[in-house]
Amino acid sequence: MLPTPSTAHVDLNRIYEPSEDSYLLLDTLSSPSETAFLTHRFSQNSTAAPDPAPVVLEVGTGSGVVLAFATANARSIFGRDDILAIGTDVNRFACQATRQTVLGASQGHNDNSALASKSGGNTMLLAILNADLTNPMRLGMVDVLIFNPPYVPSSDVPEATLSNAKSTAGSFEHDSQLLTLSYEGGVDGMEVTNRLLEQLPEVLDCERGVAYILLCQQNRPEEVVKRIHDWGEGWSVEIVVRSGKVAGWEKLCIIRIWRIQEATPF
């Protein structure tokens, strides 16, 4: 088991705390099947020639535990530690917390000193951006995208806009709205995830791009998978893990969506 980054500094009144879904992402990214997939995909062809460093984007970082885990354990997960990490979150407090979590995990400024030795200091946190989904990203720049969305079905989704962020800043109302943004997903819990899915073809690298998205049973993962199958031949999708309480409503799964190269004729 790879160590879990410390999130002791995270203000739980304002930021989604690491939960069952977060830990499922950690377990999945470090599982033998996914590390084999990712290591194969991002392995360096030769030590002599330059080999583009992968950009890892986590959307909606919250506490930052997932991005911190992925960067601090890059060697184990991706088979290389020259990772460029970027995070986005609509919640400015989450952005600040994420930066602290990621830097803490990769520099060993936390309880898990084992984390520090893993990365060798090569993984690079580029920025945590206060942004909605992948909005500020240039086309085709992301190699690995990770998303633990607000997936709980709700009557509506609060708008993540500048005006909303400003009007209530600093109040209890603001804090609770920030928390709401981290889990309320609108109709079928899919409204935010659907917007992200629309952005994937634009933002993912056209050869190496891969995305991990967490879904709950009420999101109807089988239907989501079917829809992505319709994207065409350049794409593949698979449910890579299922977990959670079978009887309870929060049965979780993680889908992997990745670009595939069309077969080249001999």
Binding site: P52, I86, R99, N130, D132, L139, T161, S163, N164
Partner: protein, 146 residues
């Protein structure tokens, strides 16, 4: 926020994405901070293929960095050590390694060690300003631009 970041970003307004003017975003009133990161030639070499060089030159110029080479350093093993490219040889006869090392170390400083703490990034297409506070850039848009 590291300087290299802006090479991966564009305006968050959807209508701007297709405009070449939306990349790179332009720094204004930027306050910089240097951090100390161990120089790693292999890491830097794998970062350079990802860098849009023309955009980087614009960014570096806006931030007052004058040491960015006109052309992206060619790091393929064949071109640095062999005599396939005789034009380069007269220039590089004295301490060619030192020159390359200096260039790479300057790039390390610019791309990885320099953080933008305060300031803003401005879209060259729509003029929207994205503020940077305490190292975190705000790309949330007002409702009418979403």
């Amino acid at each position: 926020m590291k300087i290299l970041t802006v090479n991966f970003l564009t305006c968050a307004v959807k209508a701007c994405k297709s405009s070449p003017l939306s990349f790179p975003l332009h720094f204004q009133d930027a306050e910089l901070e240097q951090s100390d990161i161990e120089y790693n030639a292999a890491f830097l070499r794998n970062i350079l293929p990802r860098v849009d060089w023309e955009a980087l030159k614009i960014t570096a110029n806006e931030l007052g960095f004058t040491t960015v080479p006109i052309e992206k350093p060619d790091l393929t093993p064949t071109s640095t050590a062999t005599d396939k490219n005789p034009v380069r040889l007269p220039i590089n006869t004295s301490e060619p390694q030192a020159t390359d090392e200096k260039t790479m170390r300057d790039l390390h400083t610019l791309l990885l060690e320099t953080e933008v703490r305060e300031g803003k990034m401005v879209c060259g297409n729509c003029g929207h300003e994205y503020k940077i506070k305490e190292g975190i850039a705000n790309f949330l848009l007002p409702s009418h631009l979403v």
